[in-house]
Symmetry: C2
């Protein structure tokens, strides 16, 4: 049987979200690397796969193309709802999960996207770096406050919502990891987030999908 | 019985998404205006409602707070799945709807957010306007190509996916409307999108929730 194909990149946070969902849903797939360092996502060849010129793209066995990481994650959840469910059953808890997801995927991640930031401040890597750092820090601070308000405590916090893995966790970790590794964001300023992050990074599915363990990993 | 409360603003695209979902789900609610023109979303009072200092915020009758427009829309869909469903049943079609939603809410809307753009280019309204226009146009172009690839034709296209209203439509219209009204984006360059937009804007739920019909409407 034909396997689905994931076009992604080791460094891309949104590709990592999909790698995580595929790992938790135990889906076998073929991986094709699109190097953002080499701007391969802007090639005419890849534009045919995704006119938005972004990774990830996920090709179903029948050839249909899905893009947008969280649409792919939602598709996997719809296909395999009982295999490590990524959404709680309670409507309010589901809303909290989605709130955290959107908080990161709309209000932090796009704003610090390196290609976009380079467009804002061309030829000014210092300003680009400061911008990304500021906006990740601002977003994580707001998120930390929200987590506090749901009654969470930094001591032993393991997951974003409830005591089970959800989509929120798949989104939190790549944002924190890249914030920390690429933009030197200090996670200890957000103790609940840091506690969740440390716990999640100890899980096998996170360890195997981490950027520096990917076949296309390279130092920049 | 206590009504839910929607904190929003007439001009905010994300508030409009929620107004639309509330209209389609026929939910009665109290509206409280937070003027983005007066920067009321940054007040200490509103920060207690939403630490991210953004509209919309939705207060449940028991006092719990939900933020992020599409988390609120998802919550309403979970609560009232059979009242004008906003997602198709087929997993691939659901994924297409979500793909369009994320394409707009992650990759167009935050990038052209006026407060953020003003931070990029302080005291340079011309550059701010050009940036917003460029990024809305680029995003709509990619979206137009995606819609084409799903087999859509500009002649008589009524909805983003299939022949029924979905979350994708609730997101498309505010983006197009504000693009057109605020940043002079020319929708006729995207014929499928324009056809869908014109059809949706003729529906009663869109007509009553349009920015200039809101109680807090004012010309800037």
């Amino acid at each position: 049987m034909t396997k689905p194909i994931l076009y992604g990149f080791f460094r891309s946070s949104s590709s990592w979200r999909v790698r995580l969902a595929l790992a938790y849903k135990n889906v076998d797939y073929e991986y094709r690397s699109i190097s953002l360092f080499k701007k391969e996502e802007r090639s005419a060849e890849f534009e045919k796969v995704n006119p938005s010129k972004k990774v990830p793209a996920y090709i179903l066995p029948d050839g249909k193309v899905l893009t947008q990481s969280m649409a792919i994650v939602g598709y996997l959840e719809d296909l395999y709802p009982d295999k490590n469910p990524l959404l709680p059953k309670d409507p309010y808890e589901r809303a909290l999960v989605r709130e955290i997801v959107y908080e990161i995927v709309c209000d932090i991640h796009p704003i610090q996207n390196p290609a976009l930031v380079a467009e804002m401040f061309p030829d000014n890597p210092k300003k680009c770096n400061d911008w990304a750092h500021t906006h990740i820090a601002r977003g994580l601070k707001a998120l930390e406050t929200k987590l506090e308000e749901t009654g969470m405590d930094s001591k032993g916090a393991k997951y974003c919502v409830g005591n089970k893995l959800t989509m929120a966790d798949l989104v939190l970790v790549p944002q924190c990891y890249n914030g920390k590794e690429v933009f030197a964001v200090n996670l200890s300023e957000y103790p609940i987030i840091e506690s969740i992050y440390k716990h999640l990074m100890s899980l096998p599915e996170f360890k195997t999908t981490v950027p520096d363990k990917q076949p296309d990993y390279e130092e920049k």
